[in-house]
């Protein structure tokens, strides 16, 4: 079902609008009043909530759906991240999921008729010791086994691609790099907007300024939610609140294996093109890419304490700047313009959760840590599959809520299992 007139974007349309004063563009999504009841209510209008709504409508024909967002669409982490998209995980559970996501990314612009500016510029993770090189080669083999791409680059090969790195740093010389050519970046806001448009045009109600304040459960079954815009009944509810997941779970009397932490990011003034890839430093917390506007976008590690402040402290700013200067002294000439923080739902094994809960009809997607942007297409896709069919999608079959208790954790990316802050 298509609701209202859906404008199609094309080069011809841009040309025509350009010649007629750009007066023909219309709103990308509707702004409806909440209805008293929906088949499915999605809590959280971030990347995952909007993606889920799009696939519910498009792939399963389920359109009696509302996405409830307490702020504005895309105002959460989906609009605060450093936009890296990759499928370079090492463990089964994650490998198939991020591989699925990267394939969805590759067809996303056609699927959405929306320019999300996916740029597969390649990601290079640098290594600085023999042990790290072995681990990276092993990870690269795992990626290739999964059907994705990975190439190990020697320092000679690297020097041709990235002449501006300091290869001879006395403490942490560069031993090589794991190159993932299909990885890259995307325009984060456009991803949220594209999915919002895809869902809205098929009949999903996107309701902003609507905070969920309670989850109604009766006889072990979810029956709806309480919101700042009144109660809404629902047959199924999906909690997709990312950093705020624990507050949502608490409304249903649940505790999650999650602790919320702040992660910062930084951007410089716009520069001429100088960094063509996404590059990460393996001997300190630093990664960088250059946005299409020219700003160097970079970040590091969590501030390493629980926080809902969406802003960080100076020690991590200092650490990130030091690591960046060590790896590529040239960035010392650029001026840092802005820094910001986002709230990360850190799970104890560093991997996400996409599952039902013990309450009938109540579902949860959380534990996206600092890597949930690249997961937006698959995260929404598999949650839509679970909501629509009652079956776990094969690409996300291991992201179960009970895996911590049963000892089947998926400890990729240096997570530790029992501590929520050591990723």
């Amino acid at each position: 079902m298509t609701v209202g007139m859906q404008m199609r974007f094309s080069a011809l349309k841009i040309l025509a609008e350009g010649l007629t004063g750009n007066k023909g563009w219309t709103a990308h999504w509707r702004d409806p009043q909440p209805k008293p009841e929906y088949d499915i209510v999605i809590i959280g209008g971030g990347g995952h909530g909007l993606s889920c709504a799009h696939y519910l409508a498009k792939e399963h024909g389920i359109t009696n759906v509302a996405v409830l967002e307490k702020g504005y669409l895309g105002g959460g982490n989906v609009g605060r991240n450093t936009t890296i998209v990759r499928a370079n995980y090492g463990l089964s559970g994650n490998s198939e999921f991020y591989s699925h996501s990267l394939k969805l990314w590759e067809g996303l612009e056609q699927d959405l008729n929306y320019n999300v500016m996916l740029s597969q510029r390649g990601i290079i993770n640098l290594c600085h010791s023999d042990g790290q090189r072995d681990a990276f080669i092993r990870r690269g083999n795992a990626m290739v086994n999964q059907g994705d791409d990975a190439i190990f680059l020697t320092p000679d090969a690297l020097q041709k691609m990235l002449p501006f790195l300091d290869y001879e740093q006395s403490r942490f010389p560069i031993f090589g790099g794991l190159y993932h050519p299909r990885g890259g970046t995307a325009r984060h806001d456009a991803v949220a907007w594209g999915y919002a448009r895809g869902a809205s045009s098929r009949g999903v109600d996107l309701i902003q300024q609507c905070e969920v304040t309670g989850i109604d459960v009766s006889e072990g079954k979810v029956t709806g939610v309480q919101t700042t815009r009144g109660p809404i009944r629902a047959k199924k509810v999906a909690m997709m609140g990312a950093g705020r997941s624990s507050q949502l779970a608490e409304m249903a009397g649940m505790r999650l294996p999650v602790e919320s932490h702040v992660l910062q990011a930084f951007v410089t003034e716009g520069l001429k093109p100088c960094i063509d890839h996404v590059i990460s430093y393996g001997a300190g917390h630093f990664y960088i890419s250059q946005s299409d506007k020219g700003g160097l976008v970079f970040g590091g590690d969590l501030d390493m304490y629980a926080s809902y402040a969406a802003r960080g402290n100076l020690p991590m700013v200092e650490h990130v700047a030091e690591a960046g200067m060590t790896l590529m002294p040239m960035i010392g000439k650029a001026k840092m313009l802005r820094s910001w923080g986002g709230i990360m739902d850190m799970s104890s094994d560093g991997s996400p959760i996409i599952d039902r809960t013990h309450i009938d009809g109540l579902h949860v997607s959380c534990g996206w840590c600092y890597g949930g942007f690249k997961a937006v297409p698959a995260g929404g896709h598999v949650m839509a599959h679970l909501l629509a069919t009652g079956q776990h999608h094969p690409a996300a079959a291991k992201f179960r809520l009970d895996r911590f208790r049963s000892g089947r954790g998926i400890m990729d990316e240096e997570a530790t299992g029992s501590q929520h802050n050591l990723h």
């Binding site: 705020r244 624990s246 507050q247 608490e250 505790r255 999650l256 294996p257 999650v258 602790e259 919320s260 390493m304 304490y305 629980a306 926080s307 809902y308 402040a309 402290n313 020690p315 104890s348 911590f404 208790r405 029992s418 501590q419 929520h420 802050n421």
Partner: protein, 90 residues
Amino acid sequence: MRIECPICGSRDRREFYYQGAAVAVARPAPDAGAEAWDDYVHLRDNPAGWHDELWHHEAGCGAWVVVTRNLTTHEIRDVQLAQSVKEASA
């Protein structure tokens, strides 16, 4: 952020290692059962407000302290030696 160590006084946050929610001051008995242990090891309240947490004064006196900190404002209300908190709750 500065933390008032009960032994050393006010110190920079960088002298401390953050461990997480202060669940360890109330560790379940070895035979408390799977449910209690799952709860203790993995599940967290994770409140957007006051939070009791364990920090280790690693680059100072080496004490473990329970810091009561607001996760939304980062304001610190109280710092106690973990030892005292454990004894008081015993």
